[in-house]
Amino acid sequence: MKRVAVFATVAAFAFTLTACGKEGTPTASGDANNSGAAPVSDTCQPSGTTFTADSAAAVAGSTTFDKIKSAGKVVVGVKFDQPNLGYKDTSGKRCGFDIEIAQYIASKLGVDPAKIEYKEIPSANRETAIKGGEIDYYVGTYSITDKRKADVAFAGPYFVAGQDLLVRKDETAITGKDTLKGKKVCSATGSTPIQRVKDEKLTEPENIVEFKTYSECVSQLLDKKVDAVTTDDAILKGYAAQNSTDLKVVGKPFSTEKYGIGLPHDDKALRDYVNNQLEAAFKDGTWQKIYDGTLGKSGSPATPPTLERY
């Protein structure tokens, strides 16, 4: 009888422990993304630029365009967690610089921006999603690199970003990458920006702080647990625009990231067409209007980049 009782107790524990073991699996830690401090303001505000579908749009020789035309909608890969860049607010509305660029391109392909089907594709899966035809194009802080050009095509750049620093508004000691010694610097776990900080020894190893998301870094910055958040200035400007009373971007970029629109590799006709449309937006002020109404709210101005056709 006693043996039975012991067995039952152990079995009961085994059951409890299964539950607790499950908690520790790496996937569960993904919940951390949601447990970070909520952004200060997470209601989407568009720049006010209007995009009207160009019903006469035609791209000769583009299989992607034919597909869009017959489907009557376009599937666009985006980010959802970058305020004022690629963002989805609690009500499900999307906004930001990248989102509006995506809407502009859609309108030029003859699709009403309201008919865009957005797909949130994590950075690691972008090439696969484009190659597999899961999305028609991708707009989401997608750096043009030679390695990626082997898998996908890029139109653009539509924005030139650079690694920069986000600091508290009253910060005076941090003025660039060489003033970080002794300061706590935060970025996404294992990301290229934090690896650059390590490689160039911009601060001491014990002062490097890594979280899964930039929002968590920003929360720590506001709580004075870190002194600077570093990544591409486009992302940082988004946070600064969201909370311009407490945060600012230093404004001395120390790398160059050219953001392109990711397109199917062999659809040259589509790439040329999108490039032409981007160029038009640079010239007629549309690009400037989108920028000023989104990332520009951070207080950092910008001008259209130069297109690179390859």
């Binding site: 006693k2 043996r3 009782a5 012991v6 107790t9 152990v10 009961a12 524990f13 085994a14 409890t16 422990l17 539950a19 607790c20 073991g21 908690e23 520790g24 699996t25 790496p26 569960a28 830690s29 919940d31 951390a32 447990s35 970070g36 401090a37 690691a124 390695k147 935060c186 996404a188 776990t189 294992g190 990301s191 290229t192 690896q195 702080v209 890594e210 979280f211 899964k212 968590e216 929360s219 720590q220 709580d223 004075k224 647990k225």
Partner: protein
Amino acid sequence: MTEFLNVLTDHWSLFGQGFGNTVKLFLIAAVGSLALGVLLGAFRVSPIPALRWFGATYVNIVRNTPLTLVFAFLVFAAPKLDINFEYFTAAAVALTVYTAAFICEVVRSGVNTVAPGQAEAARALGLSFAQVLTGVVLPQALRAMVPPLMSVMIAMLKNTTVAAGFSVVEAGAIPSYMAEFGEPQFYVLLWITIGFLVLITPLVVLQRFLERKLAVAR
């Protein structure tokens, strides 16, 4: 096959640093949670109602509260109350607090397996509660406690990976780095699994050893 091996050999220092921190975190939290857990367990079987109440309340509040929530509280909420931990300390505290609740229950159930006559006889000899517990009951209870205790420890070892999300570069942070280096994720995860198997082996051996040593013919 060479690609699989290269994932490890090309990033040897990262794996070393990651698993090094995992072991460090595990050892600190193991000592901390065993101490706290045994203390709470003693509370729960003590004759003082206030202590029993405290032990029960702790277990009921903490047990299976999502570990990420415990971490998030220490890292994101505590600073707002002017309580500031270093990230590594926060991780050790979170794992200790979380694991202690399970250890407390292991201790309590272990104590319950000891025949009441043992404690009654010890009390009749005039031993105090602490003497009864540490000298008579716990040594006998240990036999029943070893397997669940080891399971709790193994779970805790794997739970250390949650710290990766809270600025502790341990084994759980390795995949993020490797994704940025463009290494195949499947191989990376396979190496991490192998790493954990290696770390668990001593615990399994220790369990076998203790079970054999404490075995009593009944």
